[in-house]
């Protein structure tokens, strides 16, 4: 897809730090953006920013995307706003506390509703809309965490792994319709979601990851690690035999 073709863009989870940065790239390329997020005040701030940065038009919809019953209405509103969609990006998630998820089934369920159920619901609905638009792109933000379960975050990681598997199947289905499905897998990113964690040299900025997502959407690739070196780190981590992996404190 060329930058010129990405003119009608839907961003789900538009107030996340990474989504804001990607949206700024689309705005600078004069796209029209339809933004969905939970908090109306934040959404308004993001919309104003994107208009200043060059977006041809910005529409917003404040809603809770864990309410999957509302998805068809939201998505058809987004698709109708400019009579079609060129790009849809799902870019939200939470980092649930693994320990709490182990003891509290409600917390675990909520983590799965946010990071998995609502996302695949959107993917399924969006597939039906984009299927009628050859050349369009469906992108979803996964995580390197999904590449292998670890004791410190397997609730989060399993949801991200599930998204990727769902998207992989969807990719095969939509290929026939000329629609691309891209899974973006960031490593550690310095965002409000990770603000409570100690940082190390592998942390990337939201800006560089947001830019990487924009490039990934325009590129022909199916799965994109951000920054690129995570592909090789995760390859190595997947290849460690289980008995050894069990002894590593990861």
């Amino acid at each position: 897809m060329s930058a010129a073709a990405a003119k009608r863009v839907l961003i789900l989870g538009a107030t996340s730090a990474i989504a804001q940065e990607t949206s700024r790239e689309f705005a600078a390329a004069k796209a029209r953006l339809f933004l969905v997020a939970r908090d109306a005040e934040k959404l308004r701030a993001v919309a104003e920013d994107l208009k200043v940065r060059g977006a041809s038009a910005v529409e917003t919809c404040a809603c809770d995307l864990t309410d999957t019953a509302a998805h068809p209405a939201i998505l058809s509103e987004a698709a109708a706003a400019w009579d079609g969609l060129d790009v849809a990006l799902i870019a939200y998630g939470t980092l649930p506390d693994q320990k709490i998820c182990e003891g509290d089934p409600t917390a675990l369920r909520l983590a799965m509703e946010t990071n998995f159920l609502s996302v695949v619901s959107l993917l399924a609905q969006l597939a039906n809309i984009l299927e009628k638009q050859p050349g369009s792109v469906l992108a979803v933000v996964g995580s390197v965490a999904g590449d292998r379960g670890r004791r410190s975050n397997y609730a989060y990681a399993s949801a991200k792994a599930a998204i990727e598997t769902f998207a992989a199947g969807l990719r095969l289905r939509l290929a026939a319709a000329g629609v691309r499905v891209v899974v973006i897998k960031p490593g550690w990113v310095d965002t409000p979601m990770t603000s409570h964690l100690p940082k190390n040299a592998l942390y990337a900025s939201a800006r560089s990851v947001g830019h990487g997502i924009y490039k990934a959407i325009l590129s022909p690739r199916a799965v994109v690690y951000l920054p690129w070196f995570w592909r090789w780190i995760m390859l190595a981590i997947r290849m460690i035999p289980e008995p050894i992996f069990a002894r590593l404190n990861l």
Partner: protein
Amino acid sequence: MRNYQSWGRYPKSEPHQIVPLHWLSELQELQRFSRPVLAHGQGRSYGDCCLNNGGILLDTLGLDRFIGFDTQTGILRCEAGVSLDAILRLTVPKGWFLPVTPGTKFVTVGGAIANDVHGKNHHRCGSFGCHVTAMEVLRSNGERVNCTPHRNAALFCATIGGLGLTGLILWAEFQLKPVAGPYIASEQIRFRKLEEFFALSADSDKSYEYTVAWLDCLSSGAKLGRGIFMRGNHSSRPAAPQAERNGNGSAVGGFDAPEMLINHASMRVFNWLYFHRQRRDAVAQVVPYEKFFYPLDVVPGWNRLYGPRGFLQYQFVVPYDRRQAVQEILQVIERSGQVCTLAVLKVFGEIPSPGMLSFPRPGVTLAMDFPMQGRPTLELCERFDEIVRAGGGAVYPAKDARMSPSSYQIFFPSWQEFASFQDPQFSSDFWRRVTPAG
């Protein structure tokens, strides 16, 4: 990964807690902190006015959204953590430039206001604060005060140049200036003594919007006071079609250079080369604005060249008729044997700033970098202070890490009047150092 030092990396200071701010609609209750708070943006002030040892630093870089930009009038409104770099990338292609810019574009709007920064066009346009039309300040009691030159004007004036002590600047609105394109028609003229500089400056200030000079501080005797005068105007040349320039350059990297890199001999060689890099005495060229305004920005992290001990910048202003102080200070440096690595000289104009504690005032200003070598460097600066005090001048707080309380209070006599606008919960290492109340 961010570090929360100041640009000079001296003094070292350890905040108790960093609080990242992301949304104007979701601000922290400042009163819940039992310690003093201070906003910290890009950390580009040199000394300790952006530091808060044992206190709370409010990291404003997440407040990086534009709020409005009228491409007809050139009025821009944005959150306080937006950098001048982000503004230029947005507005220059639309024909608007910053009204005033310091020597780096990596400062935030909040920082530009809190330090009331100035630039090469001070003689024409005054300081940054002269162009601010409105801003909102969050006080620790939860009050959000919308202030303009006419509404809540006293808080407006106290906040401009107020070193971040009147509350948290949330957003600001200011007037940009129209330009034809991204180029500056510049000239570089060699001068051999200070009198030549003053003559060039007096002559150029009439017809050039931007004037400044680089001074060779290591030449001695008859060569003392030589340098290169730079002047420029916005060029009428429009942007080249493929004007997609990205100018971040290569970083010095995450390590400190060995201190021996910067010494008397190496800097003499550098200064000689710089002085003689143009064969003719005067060279004219049209250059991209980045090259004219921000030559050092192409080397991110250049401050680390000074090694782990960091460096001090000393910037002062003296009234024009006391400009002899510049010569005196150069002589003091010559006798001290200390290495002044960079020196920049400029004549300020008459335009007053609305800022109550602003540094820029009519006269001559000189900024100098010195590698931090402990006591000899501090004593040298103390000697400068004496000359500046005798000349009725002032030292720039944004660059300062060491001036005494008595010097500060002489340089900024309005500090007591200012105290009534200071937010009781805001403080900084600088403020605790130079005032009794802190």
